[in-house]
């Protein structure tokens, strides 16, 4: 038994994991963090949390942070991964974390001046970054390292009869995106929906529309117009649920529907979930393991499937 366990553990793909602030316990995407556990277990992905990681600065860190301080906070995470989890790709589930980290790794690779500045600052925290870490997104791990065939092989409860709008949003898709996909009409999320046995809402034209991002707080009316389009188009295409890879998209699109209803007299009530929640349910995970108890607009049908015995 011990030998078997050891062997399966050795076989797992190892990654340095950067969860990000929103995935912490009690934070806005804590149910995302819950939902990736079963998914990773089934797919042989071992996420090793980077010790003492810090915030990436997100999309609005530039305002006060400027260039070098922003690069340095990201370089700290890269340096910690390099030091404590050598040889492992750094993986993040949050597009903003991924974007900031990858942008930092690339900028420091391209400019010896910036790298020298970053290392001078990192020294204050007892660290040094050599530039050997690759910053990746969990979706890249799923698509490139695991592959759709292996993702499908784990399905025990296909989500038959569900029509789902795949909302990719911005930062999982731009400026880096998933290799080989188009910026205007990426296909991987629809393919993931098919992989778990559901039907993607084809022609969903708000697939890569911006939800307003951080400006949902500072410019609520302008952002809520975006959110209304994203939700209404999902209804128009017959979807009963939206699925997204982005924590901020998930929060903005789910949370502000009630505000839009209040202000504009609409009756929006479209559940918004993560791809990992679909996969966990399809892989036989429970309602709780899929983090389905973490929603304001209840994904009833998905919850029913999760509660069903087979």
């Amino acid at each position: 038994m011990w030998v078997w366990q050891r062997r399966t553990k050795l076989k797992k793909r190892q990654y340095a994991f950067y969860p990000g602030c929103s995935s912490q316990k009690g934070a806005s995407a804590s149910n995302f963090a819950t939902s990736i556990e079963v998914m990773c277990e089934k797919l042989g992905i071992q996420l090793n949390e980077i010790p003492d990681w810090n915030c990436c600065g997100a999309s609005i860190g530039y305002g006060e942070g400027g260039l070098l301080p922003r690069l340095v906070i990201n370089a700290r995470n890269l340096a910690l991964a390099e030091q404590h989890l050598p040889g492992q790709d750094m993986v993040s589930g949050c597009p903003a974390c991924w974007l900031s980290t990858r942008e930092t790794a690339e900028k420091l690779h391209e400019s010896s001046d910036l790298l020298a500045g970053a290392n001078e600052a990192l020294k204050e925290a007892g660290l040094n970054f050599k530039g050997t870490v690759r910053a990746r997104h969990i979706v890249e791990v799923l698509v490139e390292d695991v592959g759709f065939a292996d993702m499908k092989a784990q399905v025990v409860k296909p989500l038959e009869g569900m029509k789902i709008a795949g909302y990719v949003g911005c930062q999982t898709n731009r400026p880096f995106g998933i290799a080989g996909e188009s910026f205007e009409n990426p296909q991987y999320l629809d393919k993931m929906i098919e992989t778990v046995g559901a039907e993607p809402a084809s022609g969903y034209e708000q697939k890569v529309t911006c939800c307003g991002g951080a400006l949902a707080f500072s410019e609520p009316d302008k952002s809520q117009k975006q959110i209304r389009d994203i939700v209404e188009s999902a209804y128009d295409h017959g979807a009963e649920m939206i699925v997204t890879p982005c924590q901020l998209c998930q929060a903005n699109v789910e949370i502000y529907q009630s505000e839009i209803n209040k202000k504009q007299g609409t009756k929006l009530a479209m559940p918004v979930v993560y791809y990992s929640q679909l996969m966990t349910v399809a892989y036989g995970g429970s309602l709780k393991q899929a983090g389905l108890n973490g929603h304001i607009i209840q994904p009833e049908k998905l919850k029913q499937i999760a509660s069903r015995q087979k």
Partner: protein, 206 residues
């Protein structure tokens, strides 16, 4: 007028393009813009920009320093990166807009009370304190940025959402008492201070 703003004006006289190239992140790309307008047409908040990125690039080249830096246009950027991936000349437009906004903020000539400028400042203060963002304290800081009475009104208007998030265990009231933080908070403080010092050294108007 702030000292650094006065120094910048004295140093660059009427050459605003040179000033942007020297002091704004990715500013050296501004002269590459060919004025096609794809960025302006691709921006989700396009109608809300007083001057589109396309127009801002031309205004920089025309030396319209005051109009550009005091504009709230760049603060309309949602960081969607549409403009970057569509620009036929491959200008890192999003980064240039962020860079311009930051430069105007640093010089103290960005519009006062501009809401995105304000939340950007609060966000950085929040993350730099412990190394990690405290979502509850950040939300409360945003609600109360225009004073106590307005803060209470904002908090009451959003209480339904807040209670919903608490029930879903995605907002923890205990975060107010401390919450998640990095162990090496002190190291992070020193590291950020050093990075600022290096950046300021480089940014001197000499």
């Amino acid at each position: 007028m702030s000292d650094s703003n006065k120094q910048a004006i004295a140093h660059y006289r009427n050459n605003f393009l040179k000033e942007v190239e020297d002091h704004v992140e990715d500013g050296e790309w501004v002269r590459m813009c060919m004025q096609c307008g794809v960025c302006a047409g691709s921006c989700p908040f396009g109608p809300h920009w007083e001057h589109s990125p396309q127009k801002i690039f031309m205004m920089i080249r025309a030396g319209k320093r005051e109009e550009v830096l005091s504009s709230d246009s760049m603060w309309m950027c949602t960081s969607c990166y549409n403009c970057i991936v569509r620009c036929p000349r491959k200008l890192p437009i999003t980064h240039i807009m962020h860079g311009l906004a930051h430069y105007a903020h640093r010089l103290g000539i960005a519009p006062k009370g501009q809401p995105t400028r304000e939340i950007a400042r609060l966000f950085w203060v929040n993350l730099a304190r412990t190394g990690r963002v405290n979502e509850l304290k950040f939300s409360l800081a945003m609600y109360f940025k225009d004073g106590f009475v307005q803060g209470i009104k904002n908090a009451l208007a959003m209480q339904g959402i807040g209670i919903g998030l608490m029930k879903a265990r995605r907002l923890n009231p205990m975060e107010l008492l401390g919450g998640h933080k990095c162990k090496d908070k002190d190291g992070i403080h020193k590291m950020i201070a050093k990075a600022r010092e290096i950046e300021e050294r480089k940014q001197k108007f000499v």
